[in-house]
Symmetry: D2
């Protein structure tokens, strides 16, 4: 089931970017949860096209419809079906892509794998698929909040070569701080520079990538299922399953490889009657299981593959040709990727919470 | 099934480091494959303790026994059961760990999750668990080789702050080049410096981490199952499911975030009648599906958590205390991790090959 | 994923009987398959309410909408999303069920399990859920047909105590013969008696059950995955996952328990150059794997739980009370269950065909 | 993973009847459960060859070895690995089967599917594979017992055409009553007749089948996961995954098809403050979910395929030939199948208990 994610809290997304609709089915949501369309819509609005002047100007209202799984405002333990109709379709804009493979897109590989593809806007490989993930993630985030104030916060720390200063990111940022700027970097000065850079590359018909950091506080110790379904392993999979991602690191990550063990180990202490670590180079996970500290991980995004410059390519007949890209796109995907990363994180956490609960709390001997 | 990995070529590992044995069951291996114990043993010998003077001196022969799944030297399509008995056990050496949590190990989180644990040598969280992965990976590697010369090659590119020069790693290294030195870096001068560093930190009772790169050549286009089971997503999960890993990147990875789209995109060309990319910043995967170029990814390992220096910690009663570590351990896990990374890579590829074949070649319309 | 079925050809159904819609997502459908809404509709029409004078008179057009997964009339290997809006809703008709548990329905158990339920028409436990199964099954049946003329034929052999004579069922009935009567028994005289009986019990406000037999011809040898995913095990699960089913038997079934081994064994012979069995008491499966003979199995359905007679029951507060059932229902579910059983059978077969192909045809050694 | 069963409490069996050993890995067992080898052995002894004069005289001690997953007598939440070495091997006795397909065995279908097979004693298709199921089931039964006195009791109700009188089976039989006779029918007079029949057919070189009933008391309401993983659906799959089974029915089963709804429905009443049914034609399951009444189901076994009479067959080259069977076998598998059915039932129940607990008790809103 390549279009499903999660073992007990499972989402299945469907839909092509220029088909009738995109959607998601959520199976395994606990019963009794109050859910409103507004709560889901609020998250969708954070990933919506046209939300600011540094994202794609496509006009998609992305209005969510709840088709099943709720009764009198509460979940019933039955599958929840959510749908968003596609509206701003200009299929003619994609005629060139019917025959030509866009560099660093999925056109060639979908053709090679399936022998057939919807060439319009990337079809199934479009980031539009993540609408279902964000809608489902809104429900997962609500569960986490009600389960005891677990908060998931992603934010942009790097765009191109502009990085937020380390000191500026030490405290857990508020949602308002993150959403204060269109680029979703909670450090205002850096955000301003990032926005300027994005506008500059857009004016060149070019694009940029960057890094998003995600933190979660309030995670109880015990989430994660060794040896294969370690918490960081499932987070890594979740993040690398997103379009345009090229890397994942948790805690000290790649930089930690330059420390010695004596510098890197997180000493334990007893703080307020709980076992805590003095530092958090582990990033909240040890041996694949959450240790109760803040989860901290980062995701690398490549520059948007769509650029408004002519590029060398090959067509479906194997002939070398040139692609004169045009159309509407994001010069930098990171601002809109922030809610997507939060959604995937929440989905992983709820799934592991259910798994942990099943194995370790069902029977008492 | 947290101890299983793979959808169609599935391995299930079992065993604690100081129990009777560790092992693996492989379900879904195609029938008719010739397999010998010697082929499996050859891979196990590459991860064996005591193989050189920079790894742990523990004496474990790690002899594999084949208990089921083969008949007259060939697989039958039935589960393959492989087992290695544990031999060099000094359980008394671990008495201190019964009560004290080792910093940056899994002692605390296992205790928090399960309420009970085998404290001897990490029990289930020990890297000894990877014996089953390597044994199963030997079979997966053989399938890949017979399927058309697909070759998986991992090697150490960084230890602590010593990095192999980029130019030295441009060509695909041979197995002999990798295994020529105890540290498994194919650049001899760098390898010598790495070995010296490892010996130096060991003499201080300290440890170091580093980076392993893995490349695969001969991968056909079409492997990978969007949207969630993207090839890089499953590789990321496989790598982050290994002890001591903190990061994963594919192709341009984190460094690629500093390029513009016009610099980063891989132009297509027609080379020898096949669609090929001029550059390979994608790392062999586009849209979650292999494009026929070399797979290239890197994995970050933290420094070994076990060090021979006193450390501040807490015991199972919550009391703060000090841990006076001793015993035998690897001052740097990377040399022995190389065959493990190759094994996990081969397991992911065989699994995806089977999945791709099922969906796209079974029926022709 | 309790609302998903199948490992490689996976369906996920969603929807309550009196919600906005019911639907299904199909993941794993091979690419390139031509599919039309008409083909799916034809199967839905066979399970539609109001299709004859012996089924429920509810008016549901059950028009299928294809939302994703098709491009220019062909599947793309991406998820197929199908939806049917609910139209003939009389929620007020169910006010009594909000508080009272209907005997032998799922009202009490859903309340006990989930603590909340949509009481209108059974909600998720309604047979209306099977719309998604039948829609997905239409696609599976088309795959089987194109794969080489595999034909799935279910038909009613018993209603209450009226049974078709054994001799009348010896040959594989045509679709026309099955659908010739409203009761879908291919033996006209028996069908007439069954219809008369159904009308009689309906006039008493009562209901009846019966037996459906299903046969499949053209199945290649080799489908079925021992030891747990035996073909008959997955068929049994598929059938017992349907509302109102109480039994499953394959080949000689329960009657075969009265034979001796020497009477029961199916001797092998070489017929037309193929290994064949002289008799087919095995029902087309040996050791959990299809042997190329006709698949033959039977499913027992209990009498419809909804009856128009007062019944003793308990309400959600635990008070004993009486239920005065009314409303529209099927006095006998079997005629409409015939296409559902064919659908589930086709889903099992396509799934196993893909699995068999993956393991046994991908690599040749 | 065709050799795995269960979603959260998962067993994976491995081994051929004449290989080195057979075994099982249990993943998902809750931590802290006290388990001893003796408890597992007690169940294995109930399925052991040579236990009485009506079963196969093969001499297999079937001694279980615990290789992993226990520490100081308790489970740890890590995989439990259990193994039984094969001892009484007479591979020469099977030389004829290398080339000739035994009628109604799995020889032909394994050859057709895999192209290779271990012909000795059926290899993987041997009922010897169920050793792993029984060993794992012993642990599942212990969990059920500790969870609140849930008791699983299977017993033989029919051998050939000899049936226990209905009145004799009304009460829940004790283990002692079941095991009082070699045939495991708790009605002594019937048991004596069954034993006589089994001996008679054995003396003719023939075999017989029959029916086993299984009951479970103490099941809480709420187990079962609609719409596909209904409790009866998973029970049906479990039972049809056993060698030699041809049918499954729950509650009123096939006989219930002859009742009217007004005769068949189970009225609700309030008994001792709980919602109970007056009758139990549902067999303890409504809408796929346990209702707290006794689970009651029956399984049909065909006569043993191995008989000591010459049979017509075909060899692996397609030539028609005759098979002169000899060797040691069970003239009736039912007595030894009783503990296997209990094991599978317990495995299904523990798995569903964990699933129910995860979804419905983890979060409270």
């Amino acid at each position: 089931m390549p279009n499903s994610f999660g073992k007990l809290f499972t989402i299945t997304t469907w839909g092509e970017s220029h088909g009738a609709a995109v959607g998601v089915v959520i199976d395994g949501c606990p019963p009794g949860l109050p859910v409103s369309a507004e709560e889901i819509q609020a998250e969708l609005d954070r990933r919506r096209p046209g939300q600011s002047d540094i994202v794609t100007p496509r006009k998609e209202a992305d209005r969510v419809e709840i088709l099943a799984g709720l009764f009198e405002g509460r979940t019933m333990g039955t599958p929840i079906s959510l749908l968003v109709h596609n509206s701003d379709q200009r299929p003619g804009a994609y005629d060139e892509m019917r025959e030509k493979f866009r560099p660093s897109h999925a056109d060639y590989t979908y053709q090679a794998k399936y022998g057939v593809r919807d060439h319009r806007g990337g079809g199934r490989s479009s980031a539009r698929e993540t609408i279902g993930r964000v809608a489902a993630g809104a429900i997962a985030k609500k569960i986490l909040a009600l389960a005891g104030g677990v908060e998931t916060r992603a934010f942009v720390t790097q765009v191109h070569d502009i990085m937020a200063p380390v000191a500026a990111l030490e405290k857990f940022p508020t949602l308002a701080e993150v959403d204060a700027t269109a680029v979703r970097c909670p450090h205002p000065a850096t955000a301003a520079a990032m926005i300027e850079r994005i506008k500059a590359v857009r004016s060149e018909g070019d694009s940029v990538g960057g890094v998003i950091e995600c933190r979660v506080r309030g995670v109880p110790p015990g989430l994660g299922e060794p040896v294969f379904d370690r918490l960081e392993a499932d987070l890594a999979k979740a993040m690398l399953s997103l379009p345009a991602t090229k890397g994942f690191e948790i805690g000290s990550g790649f930089a930690g490889t330059r420390l010695k063990g004596s510098e890197h180990n997180d000493a334990f202490e007893n703080r307020d009657g709980r076992v805590r670590t003095v530092t958090n180079r582990s990033g909240g996970v040890q041996g694949g299981i959450s240790n109760g500290e803040e989860l901290v991980f980062r995701v690398a995004f490549k520059p948007t593959a769509t650029i408004l410059q002519p590029q060398q390519t090959v067509d479906i007949h194997g002939a070398e040709t040139e692609l004169a890209a045009r159309g509407r796109h994001d010069p930098c995907v990171l601002p809109r990727a922030v809610p997507i990363i939060e959604a995937m994180t929440a989905l992983v956490l709820v799934d592991h919470w259910l798994r942990q609960s099943a194995q370790n709390r069902t029977f008492k001997f």
